[in-house]
């Protein structure tokens, strides 16, 4: 657990300044400036096409893959400008990402979760077993798959694959965990179990949670940002956002369900 001592403790985990993202001619995100503190759960809410997913993509330089995606502004992770890192793969290894639609890689369940540790150089069988079990337990999937770890991960049901994706992201032992509407394919009970896990994980990592479920942000996030029309309208402590002490009328309308 990170103790708040030393100079770097005051530094935010994520420091985003003037982030603008364009795809060809169209602007997906416009001049977003915000900070995410270490070991907090930072929620991002907002309607579709608000730029939430583009924002996440910029954080681990997935934009490198996307042709025509243009990123301006600066993103600092743990004080380091990510645009200038010499080893982008090391950067991505320290950031876990869960995409909205489950992507079970065409490997066995075990190998799906063991992939990241193996790429990191973990070879010892016992150690791998331990990581796989711990991550699957945390993703609330262990009991359902412990007897068939050799089966193909891509053959699991949608909800199970989503939890497998979460387990895989955890296996990276990330500094920063990006969740993009992780509960879209999961039933409410499992969602609750995973939310409990996320609350505990906060002690080990920083979490950015993009969600369509306003109540999910309220349950989990310490602070929440409201994105609308490619802009970050405001960032506030989640409680304030929901108790009505917001600065912007549009935010109030959205959290109270008066939008579309």
């Amino acid at each position: 657990m990170v103790t708040n001592t030393g100079p770097e403790a005051t530094e935010p985990m994520l420091d985003v300044r003037g982030l603008t993202i364009r795809y060809g001619g169209s602007v997906a995100l416009c001049d977003v400036t915000l900070e995410v503190k270490a070991n907090e759960i930072f929620g991002i809410i907002g309607p579709a096409n608000a730029g939430k997913t583009s924002f996440l993509r910029a954080l681990n330089r997935m934009s490198d893959f996307v042709q025509g995606m243009e990123v301006k502004g600066s993103v600092r992770l743990a004080g380091r400008d990510i645009a200038s890192v010499r080893n982008v793969y090391a950067l991505r290894r320290s950031i876990g990402v869960v995409f909205p639609l489950p992507v079970g890689l065409p490997l066995s369940i075990y190998d799906n979760v063991a992939l990241a540790p193996r790429m990191r150089g973990v070879k010892a069988r016992a150690q791998l077993d331990e990581i796989v079990e711990r991550c699957l337990r945390r993703a609330a999937l262990w009991d359902e798959v412990k007897d068939r770890l050799r089966n193909l991960g891509s053959l699991l049901s949608g909800g199970q694959q989503q939890r497998l994706t979460i387990a895989r992201a955890l296996s990276q032992d990330p500094e920063l965990l990006l969740l993009d509407e992780f509960s879209i394919a999961i039933d409410p009970v499992t969602t609750m179990r995973i939310e409990e896990v996320l609350k505990e994980l906060r002690h080990e990592m920083t979490i950015v949670l993009v969600t369509n479920l306003v109540q999910q942000a309220r349950r989990l996030a310490d602070r929440t940002a409201f994105f609308l029309g490619s802009r970050c309208i405001e960032v506030a402590n989640t409680e304030e956002l929901f108790t009505g002490t917001v600065k912007d009328q549009r935010t109030r309308d959205y959290v109270e369900g008066r939008y579309g």
Partner: protein, 306 residues
């Protein structure tokens, strides 16, 4: 403390970073060498025929005359009949094989189940393993006599014979690629359409085929490429007569067969030798145009989807 360590890690180029660089270099070398070979072959063909093409060949004769008499006095180099030969054989072959292999692919991919499907796939792939000279013999000794008996035509070695042989030769590869294209259509699409009450045929016609169209076009154009380039079987089955065909039962001669049969009788570097290489350049240009077309079709469809 952990955060600072991580930040330092971002700048450390570890073994896997270097491995990535090395692998990228190797793959790049592989890709470049393919291009080097292509350019090398093109340069070879061009230099072999260039001097003649630039100085003594009349292009109006080459593309406008049907008289290919390299040994005549004076020699004549009209390639029109040869171009017509290649074009007509390819057209006949495609007219026969496109419905055939598309049907086979749809049957294997969408309708056949279990063992039938597996056996069919194996048999069709086996068909691709027959050497082209064997196809030539079938054309020469089986199809030829059969055609004189059935249709009562003077020569059984003709356009139709060569077209059928070529079509059968191109069928396996076209079927296999077309079937791959159908298989690449996600099952969720089929299920979504079936849930609307679509019959199997409606699913194929309205959902599977439209989605698989780029792959199917690629299969078709690959077949065309195969047909244009095939030599020995065409030489044996087509009758090898220099005419612009007026019916399916006329004997024809293709560009490839001309090169194969005449190159041996030329002296290295003389006009006839060079003229054959001009034919080679023409073939190269045709194949190149076909591939370019295929590429732009696939690209165009991809862009529309994006």
């Amino acid at each position: 403390m952990r955060r600072a360590a991580a930040a330092a890690e971002f700048d450390r180029r570890d073994a896997s970073w270097w491995m990535d660089r090395i692998a990228q270099g190797c793959v790049f070398a592989g890709g470049i060498s393919a291009i080097v070979f292509i350019v090398g072959i093109l340069a070879f063909i061009a230099t072999q025929g260039m001097e003649f093409a630039a100085n003594r060949l009349s292009w109006t004769e080459f593309f406008g005359s049907i008289a290919w008499r390299p040994n005549g006095h004076p020699p004549q180099y009209g390639a029109l009949a040869l171009i017509a030969g290649t074009a007509s054989i390819t057209a006949v072959a495609m007219a026969l094989v496109v419905p055939l292999s598309l049907g086979a692919a749809i049957y294997i991919g969408e309708f056949a189940r279990g063992k039938t499907r597996e056996w069919l796939k194996i048999l069709i792939e086996l068909l691709a393993a027959i050497p082209s000279v064997v196809w030539g013999v079938i054309g020469l000794n089986v199809m030829g006599p059969l055609m004189t008996d059935v249709f009562g035509v003077p020569s059984g070695l003709n356009l139709l014979n060569a077209g059928i042989i070529l079509g059968l030769m191109a069928a396996p590869i076209m079927t296999t690629i077309a079937e791959d294209a159908l298989k690449a259509v996600p099952d969720t699409y089929r299920e979504a359409a079936e849930a609307l009450g679509a019959t199997k045929w409606q699913v194929v016609l309205r959902v599977v085929l439209p989605h698989a169209r780029p792959g199917l076009s690629a299969a078709g154009l690959l077949g065309v490429g195969r047909a244009v380039g095939e030599t020995i079987a065409v030489l044996m089955a087509s009758g090898h007569a220099i005419t612009v065909p007026e019916s399916l039962f006329d004997s024809v001669r293709s560009l490839t067969a001309t090169i194969a049969s005449e190159l041996g009788e030329t002296a290295h570097g003389d006009d006839h030798y060079q003229a054959l290489f001009v034919l080679g350049m023409l073939l190269f240009a045709i194949t190149f145009a076909i591939n370019l077309t295929a590429d732009s079709i696939v690209r165009g469809i991809r862009r529309k989807k994006a």
